[in-house]
């Protein structure tokens, strides 16, 4: 099975996390840890770049749900960007587009954050 890796990039006005490979029950804790540490640092504006993500399982989706309320309470948000059709289909089935902003480009997501503040 393909490995999973993530890259954290602290930019203005938000932190970009780029995901790569397979995000499932085994690899989800890594993303969870990363987001948790962002919250500890007080960074609540997060863009998730899904460009290189091949697969996301329900456990992977659960990571976003686990944090979204807390992040939104603190005035931040998680925005998803550059999802492939296949990954988008999974988000779509679950109704993520109704709860999260899913944008086609990372820049757009960053722009949204700038507009917000």
């Amino acid at each position: 099975m393909n490995n999973f890796s993530l890259k954290r990039d602290d930019r203005e006005p938000a932190t970009v996390i780029s995901l790569k490979g397979y995000l499932d029950a085994h690899t989800a804790p890594e993303l969870e840890e990363t987001i948790k540490s962002l919250l500890d640092e007080g960074k609540v504006k997060i863009v998730i770049n899904l460009n290189e993500l091949d697969y996301i399982s329900s456990a992977g989706l659960g990571v976003f749900m686990g944090f979204i309320e807390e992040i939104r309470d603190k005035g931040g948000d998680i925005k998803l960007a550059e999802a492939s059709d296949k990954v988008y289909r999974v988000f779509d089935l679950l109704g993520f587009p109704m709860l999260y902003e899913i944008l086609s480009k990372e820049e757009e997501a960053l722009k949204r954050f700038s507009e917000m503040s």
Binding site: S57, G62, V63, V90, G95
Partner: protein, 689 residues
Amino acid sequence: MNLKIDKKSKLWFYIPVIIVIFVASALLIKSFPVEISVTEMLFGQISIVLIYLLSFNRVWLLRMNLFHRFVLFGFTLFVLYTLIDRTLYSVTYESTKFSDVSRVYIPALVLIMIISWFVFILIKSLVFMQQSKTTLRNFRILLFLIIARVIAVLADGSDFVNNVDLQNNFFNTSPINIALGMFEPESFFIFLIVSLIIMNSFRVKWIHYLNKRDKILSLFAFFIFTVLSARIVYNSQSVFNMSNITGVFLHSAALFSLIYSLMSFTGILFLLPSAGILDKRIREVKSFQQLSSTVSSIFEPDALCEKAVELAAQISGSNVVWIELKQGDDFRITASKGLNADRINLLSKECRKIHDRLQHNKSLIINDCRRERLTKDFVKKWFKECSLIAVKLVYKDKYIGHVFGLKYIRYGYTDEIRALFEAFAYQISMALENADLVKLTIEQQIYREELRVAHEAQMRLLPGSKPDNKTADIDGFCMTANEIGGDLYDFICVNDDRIDILVGDVSGKGASSAFYMAELKGVLLALSRYVDSPTEIMVQANNFVRQSLEKNMFATMVYCIFIPSKKVLHFARAGHPPVMLIRNGKVEPVDSSGLGLGMADEDDFSKFLSVNKIKLRKNDAVVIYTDGITEARDRHGNEFGEERLVELLAKCSDFNTEQIIETIKKEISDFSKGTHRHDDATAVVMKIL
């Protein structure tokens, strides 16, 4: 030894030998200075052959331990000595003429022959311990020479002639005399025999196997044997007076016994100072053996350490020994010996200073702890003087703990003990690792058993039978990925004209999702009794999931209410893959909007949730599945996907429910063959009859 020859060849070997002895014994008996009748002769011959045969069956002798052999040896020499010194000697002093020797002494002479032979056999059993190639050869040459000497005396025909010259030759066996008389036949024989006896007497390997105590005992024993043998050699002249042959035999045997005893005595004497070392070695080997057998029998780490500490103290002679094993960043003392637990605890804490020094070395010895910077403080508090050894426990590059040893003397640990301790430490590490593995295996077995039970429980949560209905044939299946998973499906016959069908998937895998699945099923079962709209049921289920499940968990679900009389299927979809409708050979995904259960609060959830209605016709089929089917992967990591499912279902247009289920199951199994399926695959099929 020669008893191992198989029966046939043994017989062929013995027959000529017996004939030779038979003839030889006739000559021997004839040589006695009295008239002997034919009966006496025959009787004598048969006795000698029997004695010979018996003396060859010496298994009983080989089975005796060394100590018993010594006792027997001593006893034999004593009998021989008494016989000669006390019985014959007095006779020959009174009359040196053999014509005076009465028949009465003949049995004594025969007895002397037999006992002399027995002395040979006894010494042979010692000589042949740990025999080498030349042992047997040398011994045979010696026997041959003695027999040759006997024959020479016989051939001389001068038996029972009190040959003073002959005697003088025997008792003046000083080196010079021997050297001078070397070319005289008699002296030459003696010279050869003595040389051979000396050669054979070097075979005293059994001494090495005696422990210190036995060595001291043997030293005394062989001293006595030497003295006895010397007496017999000296007194054998009285036998010569009566029979030269017996004399020669006795003389050779006694000489052999004398030289061999002397050699053994010297050997033991020289080895006595190092006797303790051998004992120690044997103790060490025993401890090691014990440890090895302990290793294979004890799988409880603490018990294993207890035993190891005991044995380590024994082999190294340490006053205090303890084993500490790594536990996280700390160390736990698993076993100790020599001091009480509190003391050991304090010691172990003080000894942490040494750990750094062990980083690059396997072990460390501090010869004088009072002078060593790291240890002097605590040692001065508690001990007069001491030396210390510390060995790291390492197994396959994994650092698992230490063994410490303490002796209340300075310079208590030699490099030898260090090597021993290191080997010992390796054994312990290995044993501990084995114990760990065994524990893990047992745990895994228990875990597997628990999983099996959980799996059975989960399977019991799924409907056991199809709903009884004439309009539609409904059935489903669930192929679990791990032993327990989060998929569920159920049929609820609410009343005669309403069958609820639900297919769901609780996120995540394993035990927790299975528990929530069971809980959700209960909730839905209760809701179905008094709520008749799929959306309302979904909203209630969403509330439940939000309250009960962890934040990062959710469930997807399709909830259908089928009205058989109208052939209408109402359904709501919460984040679940669409429902597939197979109609006239075509497959159509029927969608409706809805968020996954637990993803949003009631307001948002109901806002996005819609209900869909399908009016079914005869031969229509509906397939509701979980993402485990479309996300099944082949060996190359390709997903089964929705398109493939649509294609597959298109072929199932004319199939009945059972056939459709079998087709899907087979296709998914074939597709994911050789891989580990990572998600449950569940589907419910409904065919309108």
